[in-house]
Amino acid sequence: MPDTPMIAIDRVNKFYGIYKALSDVSLNIGAGEFFALLGPSGCGKTTLLRSIAGFDNPSSGDIRIDGHSAIGVPPNLRPTNMVFQSYAIFPHLNVEENVAYGLKRLKLGADEERRRVGAALEQVRLGHLGKRRGHELSGGQRQRVALARALVLRPKVLLLDEPLSALDKKLREEMQAELRSLQRAVGITFVLVTHDQYEALALSDRIAVMFGGRIAQVATPKEIYQHPRTKSVADFLGGMNFLSGRTLGQTASGLTVETEKFGTLTLSLPEERIEVGARATVGIRPERLRLLWDDERAPHELTGKVVNRAYFGETTHLLVGVEGLEKPLSMIETNTHGADDLPIGADIRLAYDPEAFVLLADDPPVERVH
């Protein structure tokens, strides 16, 4: 990340009456970064985005955009532009007039204005629909109008509030690819709010996962998926098998944890100190467990029984009961060997890699304000 972040959020709190929407949020977002705010509804991600845009003001703390404090600066004077969840296309204006809306105030002259509107519409491949009204456009086209209308003002930061949630799955995937290449083309900072973990993983350079008004973890998609810090983060981003264990001690290579059935695991050290002998939670992703067929052997094996099975086309999700484990293990198998034909109750063997386990911190208690 460059030395001065494009957006610096410094110990921001936001109260609505006694409800704490944002709790001591600090975050730096770099210039040119595609950054995602990810979390379930009500986690504060939208409040944070609206605070950057200027529609909400923090109760305390500072937000600096491009080095200048934005506290008290109204939305129309900030170098940010937003794509709204509803797209907010002005219904009384056509596509061109929508895109030109913000330019009108800049008094560029008719020629320059027309040129920039045309270029912005070309950029989102809507050049042929300039005379249409909002209600004559499909969801994907409306989204592109909203993008063009914001980008034509050449903001330093583009804010996107769940921009793809109103689209069906196929279109959503197309628009994801388009958003990513658009961001590379314009090179400015994008801040995306989403509750869809796959969208965040696929699009962004870095992700901040939020729960209950707090930031739980900030990392790259790969880091956050492979090394989630807390149970909630692990759970929110895909499936995770949670196992309880007990810490045995520290060695040069990491922390050793004793678990039921999976033996003694050596895990990389967490940021927080963990006492020896304390209870610890470890996790392994379902796709890191593998079925063993016929006489195939692996260095680390377990036996179990299929308790449930769900067919997903390219994969099958299995729930495998293992004697001595409280909960059945969830695993994902590609349907190349016949996992989709395994009957419920079948005895199976599975292989695991001890390196694939992660140590998960307990979640901070939810803060209540009285």
């Binding site: 529609f55 937003m82 002005f90 009384h92 809306y101 105030r105 800049l106 209600h135 994907g140 109103a166």
Partner: protein
């Protein structure tokens, strides 16, 4: 319960025809007799004439009443729409204590017996020592029209997506500029519709105008006064026909404007590519 009985379905069209006949035949007779070349409103018709319409032109009393109606109508529609805009915006935009109660009380005149409202208003006006005039009619009819304005305006404002105003601010526009460039144009059809509806109601309203007018009658009050003279009935029919046409015209415009706006501003995520 057998709702699909064939006997019933054969009766239904007949019932509907009778119903509409009863509702609209008297109104259709109005223009018919207004072009009839006889003072009596009886069949058979005596022949076509436009003399009743021509006679209206020289009728100073009638013209004065028409001017009064115009003044009252414009003031009532302007006032009730203005008050309606404020109330409708507050009720659709904000959640506050007593919101439902306030809305109910504003809508109540719709269901109160008009004559009771008229009598009570008259008592208050006289007790306050006010002279009966066009102003008192305007006051009374404004209260009476407000519920109609409110129902048109709240429907229009409810469809207004608040993020449109935020988007405008976000794109660099000021609060005032946002009101001028986004809020006003988007709710304009509802406002126009409200103006037309309340003007039409005021034009046709009789009871309040009758009780609250002094020496200056509105058209409705004038017509009522003319009914005492049998010879003047055909001119009243001609005048009534004109008023009917104006009402239908205004209400049609109001409805067309409202529907066009409704279709255009249905931004709720329809995707017709």
């Amino acid at each position: 319960m057998n709702t699909g009985a064939p006997g019933k379905s054969r009766l239904l069209p007949g019932y509907v025809a009778l119903y509409f006949l009863f509702l609209y035949l008297p109104i259709l007779l109005l223009p018919v007799f207004s072009f009839n070349n006889a003072a009596a409103t009886t069949f058979p018709l005596a022949g076509f004439t436009t003399k009743w319409y021509v006679s209206l032109r020289g009728n100073g009393e009638m013209l004065a009443a028409a001017v009064n109606s115009l003044i009252v109508g414009v003031c009532v529609s302007g006032l009730s729409t203005l008050l309606g805009i404020c109330a409708a915006r507050a009720i659709t935009r904000y959640r506050f204590r007593g919101r439902r109660a306030a809305n109910g009380l504003i809508m109540a005149p719709l269901f109160l017996p008009e004559i009771i409202v008229a009598v009570s208003l008259l008592m208050v006006v006289l007790a306050a020592g006010m002279e009966l005039s066009l102003a008192t009619i305007i006051l009374g009819q404004t209260v009476f029209c407000l519920p109609y304005c409110m129902s048109v305006l709240t429907a229009g404002f409810e469809g207004f997506d608040r993020s449109l105003e935020e988007a405008s601010l976000d794109l660099g526009e000021t609060a005032f500029g946002t009101f001028r460039r986004v809020t006003l144009p988007v709710v304009a059809p509802a406002i126009l519709s409200s103006l037309l509806v309340s003007f039409t109601i005021s034009l046709d309203e009789f009871i309040l105008a009758f009780f609250l007018s002094g020496t200056e009658p509105t058209l409705a009050v004038y017509i009522w006064g003319q009914l005492r003279f049998a010879a003047k009935l055909p001119s009243v029919l001609a005048l009534g026909t004109i008023m009917l046409l104006i009402s239908i015209l205004l209400l049609t415009i109001a409805e067309v404007v409202r529907r066009r706006a409704e279709r255009r501003y249905a931004t709720g995520g329809y995707a017709h590519a």
